[in-house]
């Protein structure tokens, strides 16, 4: 990483002696000023005996590259506050964007044909459509918790499950559940409807697991960074401070696809063969990977069924910028590209009998 120019450091020091420290973490004056403001607010809220010393300590930690979210301990996600801890991946704003978009589609019944392929009109009769959602590689549990908060009103018969291989992450997810929903009368309802289970996604599912994880919506933000990309394309604060387990798929899973795509192969298999979900939404790392995953999805489907595959960009609800791709042709199928930004997630909608 290139060194920060001295002029920038001098400019930062004019505003505050703490700013150059934070600048080493964020590299632009504007974001450093914002971070200093947030750190100050955080220290004020904590009411420690010597706030100035504590603030200096936090800025020194930030200078080493420690992510702000680990220092402050939380990251806003939608209307929730998600606790963060070293050893668990920090929720990203792109993840927030597609989760909110998916919730909107479900709330506004734009995906209705899925729940009853025979006739969408039937849905009107059942005022309590059941909705089951499973999130793989849940980490902090941000996706299940946000979906719960956005969907529980419209879908009283909702159940959301988050699965992860790491006990550490599962403990944090449970903490987040109680931290965000553990007050007042919503408490009991949230604790019964949102669950976190330990699961290695590559293990063969037992029959009881196959039953309990059966769902309508399968969503995941799996590790998708290649070893090479990890070494060259990640920022220092990600590489040195966030768990590699959540970022790069372990090499033990041998398969025919590229090592960074192994999770997608498994997710598509779960979607089609084992969990019978109608919607599958997976976050991807870049354009090339998105196209590979879309191709896998198209080739993976049961012959004779009609699957819809879409690619969503970073902000699926925004209008696309000028002269960007709006549609792709992959293996003879049209794929719609929604929103603006880079390719960020692949959406698959399958007809089920």
């Amino acid at each position: 990483m290139p060194r920060i120019p001295h002029k920038l450091l001098a400019q930062a020091r004019q505003t505050s002696p703490l700013l150059p420290l934070i600048l080493r973490g964020t590299r632009t004056i504007e974001s450093a000023s914002n971070e200093l403001r947030w750190l100050r607010q955080h220290v004020e809220e904590l009411r420690v005996p010597s706030p100035d010393n504590y603030l200096l300590e936090l800025c020194q930690r930030r200078a080493k590259g420690e992510p702000l979210q680990y220092i402050i301990g939380t990251q806003p996600f939608g209307d929730l506050d998600i606790k963060c801890r070293p050893g668990v991946l920090i929720p990203r704003s792109e993840t927030e964007a597609y989760t909110i978009y998916l919730a909107r589609l479900l709330n506004e019944e734009l995906l209705n044909e899925q729940f009853n392929p025979e006739s969408a009109a039937d849905l009107k009769i059942t005022s309590n459509p059941p909705l089951r959602i499973v999130d793989m590689c849940t980490g902090t549990g941000c996706i299940p918790l946000l979906l719960y908060s956005l969907l529980s009103q419209r879908f009283p018969d909702l159940s959301v499950t988050g699965c992860d291989i790491s006990n550490h992450a599962l403990r944090l997810a449970q903490e987040n559940l109680i931290y965000n929903f553990g007050k007042g009368k919503s408490q009991d309802s949230a604790l019964t409807k949102v669950n976190f289970n330990k699961l290695d996604i590559f293990d063969e599912l037992s029959s009881s697991q196959r039953h309990s994880l059966k769902c309508d919506v399968l969503i995941s933000n799996p590790p998708y960074i290649s070893e090479n990309s990890f070494n060259h394309e990640t920022t220092r604060s990600v590489r040195n401070w966030e768990p590699k387990l959540a970022l790069v798929p372990a090499t033990k899973h041998a398969s025919s696809v590229a090592p960074e795509d192994v999770f997608y192969e498994r997710l598509l298999s779960l979607h089609r063969d084992f969990l019978q979900s109608k919607i599958l939404l997976m976050e991807v790392g870049d354009d090339a990977q998105a196209i590979r995953v879309a191709e896998m999805a198209i080739n993976h489907k049961t012959p004779g069924t009609h699957d819809l595959v879409e690619i969503w960009r970073d902000w699926p609800e925004e209008r696309p910028e000028c002269s960007v791709t709006l549609k792709l042709m992959v293996s003879g199928h049209h794929i719609l590209v929604r929103g603006s930004g880079k390719f960020r997630s692949v959406f698959v909608r399958s007809q089920r009998q």
Binding site: N34, Q75, P76, R92, S93, E94, W315
Partner: protein, 428 residues
């Protein structure tokens, strides 16, 4: 020529200087006992409509009619009171003119007359105020934007002083205030060591805040020796304050903005999403899991009017986006209303010939040397600058004087408009 027996040369020089004339208001505080017949006719019309509608709703309930009745009630009641007072005066007159009444009664009558006359004055005032249409944003909560203007660092310091003043004022008035945006710029630090303010947006969430604070919009001028000044010269700087209606999104104290209002293209509050460009910080490189930046800044650009709103106050991009939309809607609603008022003003200017009080004009001067605050609209000067800067009673006085002045202006406009309408209808 002048009321005083003599005027010293110094005063003549000061007060007849060409620039000075601006301090003279060309309006008097005296109310007129006689009430304009034109306005009276209008009031009578509204009262009869009110009675008619009340009869109608006695049988069937209709929400729209009820709303109209509510609007007309003020005028009707004021009119009734005024008429009652008018009748009382006539009776007293008759009593006084009648030669057969005895001395005692005559004395009582003349005393009564004086008090009834003053009562009539206030009632006429009431009637006139009730006839002027209420500002559509009057009951809404508001956003207040404070921006330093000319004057560099000193203007920024004064801007933060004004911010403190409004915070104190709102606390006293029990208005719920939150700081939506507090942006600082690079530059020399203020006396307290904080970086200079470049833009602040306050959100005052209590209903009726707009009506109370709308007099604060405009350019505030300050004359003092800046803290950064070494030689002790007095500088003049300016700070501009904008007051925008805050459009409540969901039901809050019964002021809910219905979805139809937000989506109705005709409504002031409608913003077409295709007209707005959203800019967010884009990650260099791959994004997603590759980076964990805290960049949550959102910038909305409304292309047709070139209005730009940037928000980076919160760590959540989602929240910044919501707040930015709220500010954008408020600014556009205000701009649209001002544009319509401008058009109406242009028509009226031909009738009235009064200069428009635009955003560019200075509304108030704060002079530290003389400890004086002068509002140029109502003409009021108070000499307790410190109390004003603490948001105390003196500030209340100033704001109330401006509100009265604005009310009078509107009344005069109304009068002129009615007379214009009358003359044109007579011509037909």
């Amino acid at each position: 020529m002048f009321g005083a027996p003599w005027i010293c040369r110094r005063c003549i020089n000061t007060y007849l200087k060409p620039g000075r004339r601006r301090l003279i208001r060309f309006a008097s505080n005296e109310s007129h006992g006689a009430f304009s017949p034109v306005l009276l006719a209008r009031a009578r019309n509204m009262a009869s409509e009110h009675d008619r509608l009340t009869e109608q709703t006695a049988e069937t309930f209709d929400a729209k009619i009820q709303k109209r009745i509510g609007e007309l009630k003020r005028v009707t009641e004021a009119l009734r009171e005024w008429e009652a007072s008018q009748n009382a005066i006539e009776e007293l007159h008759a009593l006084l003119r009648d030669p057969t009444t005895d001395e005692e009664l005559r004395e009582l009558a003349s005393e009564d007359m004086a008090s009834t006359r003053t009562e009539l004055d206030t009632l006429s005032q009431n009637l006139a105020t009730s006839l002027t249409p209420k500002h559509p944003f009057e009951d809404m909560p508001c956003l207040m934007e404070i921006r330093p203007g000319a004057g560099g660092g000193e203007a920024a310091i004064f801007a933060s002083d004004l911010l403190r003043m409004y915070k104190a004022y709102c606390a006293r008035k029990n208005f719920r205030l939150s700081i939506m945006k507090y942006e600082t710029s690079d530059g020399d630090n203020g006396p307290g060591g904080e970086p200079p303010l470049s833009e602040a947006i306050l959100e005052i969430e209590s209903p009726g805040a707009y009506g109370q604070l709308r007099s604060e919009a405009g350019v505030h001028r300050v004359q003092r020796v800046p803290a950064t000044e070494t030689k002790g010269r007095t500088h003049t700087s300016a700070v501009s304050v904008l007051v925008l209606p805050s459009l409540p999104v969901t039901g809050s104290d019964g002021m809910s903005m219905s979805e139809t209002d937000l989506n109705d293209p005709e409504s002031d509050y409608y913003v077409n999403p295709t007209d707005v460009r959203v800019d967010v910080m884009r990650a260099r490189g791959a994004g997603g899991q590759h980076v964990n930046t805290t960049d949550s800044a959102v910038r909305l650009t409304h292309v047709p009017t070139n209005t730009v709103v940037s928000m980076q106050e919160s760590r959540s991009q989602h929240k910044n986006r919501e707040k930015a939309w709220q500010v954008l809607r408020s600014r556009l609603a205000q701009a649209r209303r001002e544009a319509r008022e401008d058009e109406v003003m242009k028509l009226r200017r031909g009738v009235m010939g009064v200069a428009k009080m635009g955003r560019e004009n200075k509304v108030r001067t704060y002079n530290w040397g003389q400890q004086r605050v002068t509002d140029h609209r109502s003409g009021l000067s108070v000499y307790n600058l410190d109390d004003v800067m603490d948001g105390g009673d003196e500030l209340d006085k100033v704001i109330d004087s401006v509100k009265t002045w604005m009310g009078e202006q509107e009344m005069q406009m109304l009068l002129a408009e009615e007379e214009e309408a009358n003359t044109t209808s007579k011509k037909k």
